[in-house]
Amino acid sequence: MNAALVQFKPRKGDVPGNLALMREVFEQLAPGAPDLIVFPEAALTGYFLEGAVYELAVDAPTMAQRVDAQWRASGAARPCDVVVGFYENVDGTFHNSAIYVRCGLESGVHVVHVHRKMFLPTYGVFDEERFLTRGRQLSVFETAFGTAAILICEDAWHAIMPTVAALKGARLIVVPSASPGRGLSGDGELESNARWKSLLSSAAAEHGVYVLYAGLTGFEGGKGMSGGTCAYSPRGDLIASAGPLDACIVKVQLDPAEVDLARATIPLLGDLSAVLPDLWLDDEIPVTRRLEERA
């Protein structure tokens, strides 16, 4: 599978303009089109919207149609899978979501999966849960590459999320993100981006999964989205990465055999699958005790 990760720089709130930018990306990628194109979180609106979320959120079919229309307009000769982060309106309930769509099919666009961000950062510079409702489900889904999962930004900061995704069968984890860069003490790299790389590498290596990360870039009212678009192999190695600034495209090739090899060499996921039930039998685990008390 060939994937293109788009470090995208939208104009705040300018959905038509950002769709045109998306179409330009598709036009660039159309010759020898990849199998999968990944855009960041909130790609077509910008991330910090506050109350404007309610003005710009759309439902998943609408988002799918918009993305498919750009793909068709790009002159691409074949279908392509696209992941895009967007603010979703589900009958008046608003989510920070990412959609996985198959574009350019003769039958029309096909929505493969919608992931609704489960961990909504609401501290410091972040205020998501003031405007949004968290997702309640971490599901995997089938792609041409194999079983995949989407984690949006803070979802991936909780080690249990890629763990659960991998236990459910994910061999590929896609992470659309919008991360305000912070921390200038690093050696040539933002501290926040270094933290991201550490997290993503660990998730990939521990579970033998590919991790594809697409970051928003550009400043939003002083807060610089830190790009850092990158990909990790199932061994946890950095395959390719972009810097924090400027829009760009990161192209990577994914080989399903690499997942098998990584898992065969270091079978941590298999070990976890075997041991996991035992972890919950310890009476001292508060979660277990609470569950028992509730029962």
């Binding site: 104009r11 705040k12 709130g13 910008g46 910090f48 919207l49 506050e50 109350g51 404007a52 860069g181 200038l184 003490s185 690093g186 050696d187 040539g188 790299e189 933002l190 550009g218 400043f219 939003e220 009212g221 002083g222 610089g224 924090p244 600034l245």
Partner: protein
Amino acid sequence: MTLPVVEAPLAEPSLAIDPELAARWLEAFLRDEMLVRRGIGKAILGLSGGIDSALVAYLCARALGPENVYAIRMPYRTSSPSSLSDAQRIVDALGIHAETIEITGAVDGYLAHAPDADPRRKGNVMARMRMLVLFDQSARRGALPVGTGNKTERLMGYFTWHADDTPPVNPIGDLFKTQVWALARHLGVPNEVVDKPPSADLEANQTDESDLGVTYATADKILNLILHGYKDDAIVARGYASAEVRLVRRRVDSTHWKRHLPTTALVSSTAINEFYLRPVDY
């Protein structure tokens, strides 16, 4: 046998910066906030001859090109002559546009009606006059005013409200003074500017550190600990004098209002910035 012992010091968040990373980040900030968001490619700033405005001039010149940077020197009759000459060093080094606009006539014109004004009031009048000049020159040249206040003076409340803090963009407002020094040295700001004692230059022989009662080097470390949530006793435990910790804490706690817009009486469920929330760049 006595084993060697490795003893960890008490944790303290670092103030170190990678100056080149910082410079690239702040230049990108200026380009995005000015050119991309506002479509304005020209910057204007008050160039005092001190390190803060010098650093901002360097960042603007790198981000926008020196031909797009306008430095306005706004001396009052009591301003130190060295301030003007230091400002000239920066103008010469960068090749930016420069103009000197005396504020003495305007300031004294008002102060003639305020004979009881003490030095603090006079200083505030000068700062607000410079704001007025900067914004008018901004309109004249189609250039966006760029702020030069650093994080230390913002936290200590060591600025004139609605004067120094008014420009719509500020690249160094999240940098402590000691970080400003590090970045200025990296970018080649002249030593005469970097090494001289910082001064608001509103009164003769005035220095920031004598006004504040604590050195920037110490204030920055204490401020950094306060912002990371450490209580006074935890800061003192890290080797700082309790009197200085109390002084810094008091300055921060008594000036939160200076870091906000004016307080508006809320009478509806559509109050601006309380219920009706839209980001600044929307």
